[in-house]
Point group: C2
Chain length 403, copies 2
């Protein structure tokens, strides 16, 4: 077991497990859902609200913060913790996914990836060394290796990309100078500056079992304090994601935390936890909130629907979030239709509360030995949006992927 991660309980009927990560900015109970703060703010909520919601880990984006305001400004203002006024644990991704999905032009070779900023078209080069340097300036508690995130179904591209991802992982590890240590236990410090950072390796390999195995073996041999699984939840059928987790997870060490990059719908959480994942991050709860969609135990509700125009009920009966304690669906619908900022805020608070509460419930169920029952019961009652509809949504959204 590594210094910073304690495994507290394993589910007898699945790979689900409960643990706790110790970081320089506090403890993170796992499994954990990390709200995404792309630009050093979780969209629409304040650090105080995040704290009240019980968020224990957030994820910020290296690509966005590198472009604006720039890593030196963030470093001068005390790193991300000081800059954004969040004292809790933070992780940054390496920018790899954004460069391949959001930036405008690019060339990739073993050196790194050249891209044009989606903001002003300026050209930039991300190398493994540069990305570590940027993340050291940003100062998160957990940082990630640069990786290449190819189309999951293109075998030949995945073979080439994996070669680069593995080379970059070695160089990232080499380049990481800022206390290249395991997650460390102990009292949290108020400044992220100068404290240790844990560098996680990333397993890639698209939707191909042999490549996933190859990648898991290569990356774990480098002995990182934690592992992310990347290149999933990017549009492939859910069954493929589950299969890739089933292939990969048994090859990861038991005593290190496992992070599923970019997945975080309620159903993804259950399926990921059941397959042994510990950390989830996703823009879904905050992004759909800004489109007026809210989670309930029976599925998503679209608050724009006219049926809610005079509905005095809260979003969900029994929910303890600020929105549900104080406001009706009718009021929320009014705010959404009138494009009022408070509408985005209330929907975001509700969705984050939903995800964070669900995670607490999952942790308790694992500890109580009832996780499989909870999973069965939840998924039986929850209407999942079909793959085709998700694809359509994704296409409709392309071009405004900033979060």
């Amino acid at each position: 077991m590594s210094l910073g991660f304690e495994l507290l309980k394993e589910d007898p009927l699945s790979r689900a497990r409960v643990g706790v990560m110790h970081t320089p900015h506090g403890q993170v109970p796992t499994p954990v859902f990390a709200p995404v703060g792309t630009q050093a703010t979780v969209k629409a909520v304040s650090p105080r609200e995040l704290c009240e919601l019980g968020a224990s880990l957030i994820l910020a984006n290296t690509y966005h913060l590198y472009l604006r305001p720039g890593p030196d400004i963030v470093a001068d203002l005390g790193g991300l913790h000081g800059f954004m006024g969040w004292d809790g644990p933070i992780m940054t991704d390496s920018g790899g996914f954004q460069v391949f999905s959001l930036a405008r032009l690019r060339a990739v070779d073993m050196t790194g990836v050249t891209f044009r900023s989606h903001l002003d078209g300026s050209e930039h080069l991300f190398t493994p060394e540069r990305v570590i340097e940027i993340q050291e300036k940003l100062g998160a508690d957990i940082i990630l290796c640069l990786d290449e995130c190819p189309e999951p179904l293109d075998y030949d591209y995945n073979v080439q990309a994996l070669e680069r991802t593995h080379n970059w992982a070695e160089r990232c590890k080499q380049a990481h100078t800022r206390h290249n240590q395991a997650l460390r236990p102990g009292p949290s410090t108020s400044s992220g500056h100068g404290s240790g950072q844990a560098l996680f390796g990333i397993v890639q390999g698209g939707a191909f079992a042999d490549l996933r195995r190859q990648s898991a073996e290569f990356i774990t041999a480098l002995d990182f304090p934690g592992y992310s699984i990347g290149g999933l939840s990017v549009g492939e059928p859910k069954e493929l994601m589950h299969e890739m987790l089933e292939v990969t997870v048994p090859l990861l060490p038991e005593d290190k935390p496992r992070h599923l990059l970019g997945a975080g719908s309620p159903e993804d959480i259950f399926e990921g936890v059941a397959r042994g994942m510990d950390i989830f991050d996703c823009v879904l709860p905050t992004r759909i909130a800004r489109n007026g969609a809210v989670f309930t135990r029976t599925g998503r509700l679209n608050m724009r629907n006219a049926r809610y125009a005079d509905d005095p009920a809260p979003i969900e009966e029994g929910c303890g979030c600020y929105a549900c304690r104080h406001f009706s669906r009718a009021y929320l619908r009014h705010l959404v239709m009138a494009k009022e900022i408070l509408g985005l805020r209330l929907a975001t608070l509700h969705n984050l509360h939903f995800m964070l509460s669900l995670m607490r419930e999952i942790r308790e169920a694992i500890l109580a030995g009832t996780f499989s029952a909870l999973r069965r019961e939840f998924l039986a009652g929850y209407e999942i949006i079909p793959h085709e509809a998700r694809q359509r949504n994704r296409e409709a959204r392309s071009g405004r992927q900033e979060e």
Copy 2:
């Protein structure tokens, strides 16, 4: 003295005064600044935040709420108080100003005003009777008569408009059935529904002393529990506004609250208080916040300015607002440049805190007999944006006047 308004102290060197209004939803210390919640939400802030800021009165817009979501829906959900989750005092304006400044086409005669919705072009008629009916459904503590708000410098138009405004005031008073009573003291109730509403008369007359006098005499003869002064702060030079207040206020009863419609810059507050006004409402603090401008004791700062990019100081040293206690100018600038919702929120919180704190300071100064010194000192240090620049801003803004 009317039942619901107590005068506590008058300044010996000006017309400034301190009082307290008693409404069915609590007390309002005056002079008071009322944040504007156009669409049943003060843009970007929650009721909890308004409460923490110490707001004691907010103003919502009848025109907007009539169009969306409609007065019946608001009434069914417990009136504005229940609908928007704000237990404190609320006032609604009559919609007159919005119809004349925001709606698209119109015809005005003694009957009322016909206009097209700025939302969907649908045609509507506001009569005095209809506007009272709508405001009774919205259920605010203080409601206003329908008035016509003409160009302040067109004498002939003002003569005609005043005739209608006076006729409408008589009819509004007649139509007001819902406890047409003075502001009443006593414990606040949790429901605005069924409780009393105080109907204020509105004095108009443009920038003309004789019309203002005529209007003040006519409207006060109708004996309302409070009086609003309309048609000022709509683009005329500040000196004219001051002159009109000096003409009008001495004709208003001492023992009734006086409301200056739509004025609320720091300098307007000082000048209005000095001339005997008690209630101010204005979108300025919230609107400029959404453009990245923040108040300080020395004037407005535009947070988009590159000079703040690495500025570790808060917006204003010593300010106790949430934004200043936790975040740097550099972070706020980053949020504003990145169009993040938290940027709008922090700037709005700061500006509302600034206005509400300034009002507390003004009340304390009047009680201590030091108001004139405070006014002199504040205005000497505060850089006022010149009339010409205000005019340019106003023109640049036309077409997006929703708040």
